[in-house]
């Protein structure tokens, strides 16, 4: 489809409400062994995988939901959730952009999302989306030539069982925590990436992913493996606001970096935060962990989080290899009644390991945000170093920011530095900017973006621009 046609489509007036009533292939609410068997069967999994899931389920049954996070939410009824629903068929999805909520399109516009991606993000049926099929094919070819495997986790379980057996659950074991155990039992979606020795993945694994991002699942599981000297940059999520009928999201991401490998994992997440009272928002409980197994391996987590009613998330690094490096750069924005409890864990095990943590939290409205960071230096981690910078910015008088830095230092040769600041966008600062002719909204954006720039510069270029726009949209009306 030509670009002009596409533009016309976008410009066309929204004429009628569009109501979907889809009979999806869903299991009844509740969780027991038969539901897990059903999922495994649907996914065409081998017997050992089912056993693995059941094993996780049995561990989960004995676990209790964590309650120590600085969060408040009504109890979740795990037997009231349906654990499988088949992806929507093309004919059940909107057939063109004019069947899509114009408000959503307006947001895409504000975020500067390229026209050709908007339809895909809005969930328009694939054959109505120009070029997306051929784009995908080109990607696949290029990746294949380089020897990079990039596919859904379900496909990987069927096609590459040896790799799955070798790596799945080795970073986040089935019984790691309550949500991880649940995910291990019932996960249905997610990605698998394998970059063989010496290969630098020829492209950022982002665009492809974003085009398919409209179908993110409730229990995703992602596994990325970089062999010796391999490199990959992976981008998860997208800036477009994502709604989902499923309130509870419990994902797992496992990264494995062997000798001299480098994995850069960037997340821009914008789940629906709910209405003004936080109703209908997504609960996002995520376990993300990287295992720097090889010497001199490096993993870098960068995240920009704006959505969700509730976020509970601590991307972590196990620095096992000698001289391995872990980095965590984070911007979290909360507004309205959102609650976020995020942070990171850097576990220094090997000699000469290094970690850097830069966390920027912005709280507006009535929102509450906590940073929780653990830096642990094991007895063998001679000469380990950590630097933590943790800044909070408050907008208005009703928001809160809390910082909980934990340190466990088991080796006296280690250096651990922690800096923290809390500031407020002051009336005086806004007055100053406005007195120079800058609108209040632009002044807030300018101050917020200035506050976040250390993190934004870690994002892939195009995403940095979108992330800035995203922050601006998120904080619209936060002042005054």
């Amino acid at each position: 489809m030509a670009t002009e046609e596409m533009e016309q489509l976008v410009r066309r007036e929204y004429t009628q409400g569009f109501v979907t009533d889809i009979e999806s292939d869903t299991v009844p609410p509740g969780l027991d062994e038969s539901v897990i068997a059903f999922i495994s069967e649907k996914k065409g999994e081998p017997e050992w995988m089912l056993q693995w899931r059941l094993d996780a389920y049995h561990q989960w049954l004995k676990m209790k939901e964590p309650s120590w996070a600085h969060l408040n939410y009504p109890p979740i009824d795990y037997q009231g959730i349906s654990y499988y629903s088949a992806p929507k068929k093309p004919e059940d999805r909107p057939q063109s952009l004019d069947e899509v909520d114009p408000k959503l399109l307006e947001t895409y516009e504000k975020l500067g999302i390229p026209l050709h991606e908007r339809a895909a993000l809005a969930g328009v049926a694939v054959d109505a989306v120009f070029d997306s099929v051929s784009v995908t094919t080109t990607f696949k070819e290029k990746l294949g030539e380089a020897g990079v495997i990039f596919c859904s986790i379900s496909e990987a379980i069927r096609e590459y069982p040896e790799l799955i057996k070798k790596y799945l659950g080795t970073v986040v074991p089935q019984g790691d925590n309550f949500f991880a155990a649940l995910n291990s039992a019932v996960f249905t979606d997610g990605s698998f990436v394998f970059v063989p020795e010496g290969v630098t993945c020829p492209m950022e694994l982002s665009t492809y992913f974003r085009i398919n991002a409209a179908n993110t699942g409730q229990f995703e599981r992602t596994l990325i493996i970089c062999e010796k000297q391999a490199q990959v940059s992976y981008l998860e999520g997208c800036t477009a606001p994502q709604r989902d009928e499923n309130q509870l999201h419990a994902a797992i991401v496992e990264l494995v970096a062997l000798e001299d490998a480098y994995i850069k994992y960037s997340t821009v997440q914008n789940w629906y935060p709910g209405d003004e009272d936080g109703k209908g928002g997504i609960y996002n409980f995520v376990t993300k962990r990287a295992d720097c197994r090889g010497d001199r391996s490096k993993v870098s987590w960068t995240q920009v989080e704006t959505g969700s009613a509730i976020t509970w998330k601590y991307p972590s690094c196990l620095l096992r290899g000698k001289d391995s490096v872990g980095e965590f750069y984070s911007v979290a924005v909360t507004n309205g009644r959102q609650q976020a409890d995020t942070g990171t864990k850097m576990i220094h095990i090997g000699e000469g390991t290094k970690s850097t943590i830069v966390s920027k939290g912005i709280s507006a409205g009535n929102s509450e945000q906590s940073y929780r960071g653990l830096v642990k230096i094991g007895p063998r981690a001679k000469g380990a170093r950590n630097f933590t910078q943790c800044d909070s910015l408050l907008i208005g008088d009703r928001s809160g920011a809390h910082t909980f830095p934990y340190q466990e230092i088991g080796n006296s040769t280690a250096t651990v530095e922690h800096e923290a600041t809390t500031s407020k966008i002051g009336e005086d600062q806004l007055f100053y900017c406005r007195q120079r002719g800058i609108s209040e909204e632009d002044a807030v954006n300018m101050i917020v973006n200035g506050f976040c720039k250390d993190v934004f510069q870690e994002l892939p270029m195009e995403f940095a621009v979108e992330a800035e726009a995203l922050l601006n949209v998120t904080l619209e009306g936060a002042v005054g």
């Binding site: 100053y432 900017c433 406005r434 007195q435 120079r436 002719g437 632009d442 300018m446 101050i447 200035g450």
Partner: protein, 250 residues
């Protein structure tokens, strides 16, 4: 150009300005002097639109427009600039970024396009050289860690770039060394023209040696107690404020 009529202003229940009137025409330079706490900063802040101040009666017009009906940024866009007595620090925001955002916001309000980046850089470098400021100031966060004198110079730098119709400079001379005083005065003088006006708050005759005012006003207890030409400043310098108080009480 600026017309302030019988202005009454209250802050947290205290009346600070008690019926102040002042007329500034294009082309003129006015100096406002007066004891600490008499309301000088309050006057310029109210004209600029600072929100903590409540105007209980009176009026302010600028080029025929009712200033009290305008948003803070609209006043700035109309050509009112306040050089702050205590410029605020804005961590994380580069000076150059603020300058560009301000200039473009004002151009946009006038219906002009954004200034192209090379042209902007050229302009800024020119002004920077005029103020004898190092280019490194552009890359630093707005006023963060600036010395007192550097902050004041930075205010004048912004003024030179934005070219306001009316510059209200609140104690722009405080904290300046002798050389800096001269540079700042040159900056202000370079902007003097038939279309522009300057309103300066100061405690010292010294600044007025460099920037010759057309009028000098003495603000006492929320009112203009006495107005005169530049010789009034000299008289205040030698005699203090006491006699003005007595005269106005009589």
């Amino acid at each position: 150009m600026l017309e302030v009529k019988d202005l009454h202003v209250t802050v947290e229940g205290n009346e600070i300005l008690k019926g102040l009137s002042l007329t500034v025409n294009a082309g003129e330079v006015h100096a406002i002097m007066g004891p600490n706490g008499s309301g000088k900063s309050t006057l310029s802040a109210v004209i600029a639109g600072k929100e903590d101040y409540e105007v209980t009666s009176g009026s302010i017009t600028f080029e025929g427009r009712d200033v009290l009906e305008m948003e803070i940024e609209e006043r700035a866009q109309a050509g009112l600039l306040l050089g702050f007595q205590y410029p605020v620090e804005i961590p994380g925001v580069k000076n150059i970024y603020l300058l560009k955002a301000a200039l473009n916001a004002q151009r946009k309000a006038r219906g002009e396009n954004e200034i192209p980046a090379p042209e902007f850089m050229k302009l800024v470098r020119e002004k920077l050289a005029f103020m004898k400021m190092d280019a490194s100031f552009l890359q630093r966060a707005v006023n963060e860690g600036f010395s007192g004198g550097e902050k004041k110079r930075n205010e004048i730098l912004q003024m030179l770039l934005l070219e306001p119709k009316l510059a209200m400079l609140d104690e722009i001379d405080s904290g300046l060394d002798i050389d800096a005083m001269k540079i700042v005065a040159d900056g202000v003088n370079s902007l003097r023209s038939e279309e522009r006006a300057v309103l300066m708050v100061t405690h010292y005759q010294r600044l007025l040696d460099y920037i010759t005012p057309d009028y000098v006003h003495v603000l006492v207890d929320g009112r203009i107690a006495k107005s005169g030409d530049k010789s009034l400043a000299l008289e205040l310098e030698s005699r203090g404020y006491e006699w003005v108080l007595e005269e106005s009480a009589a």
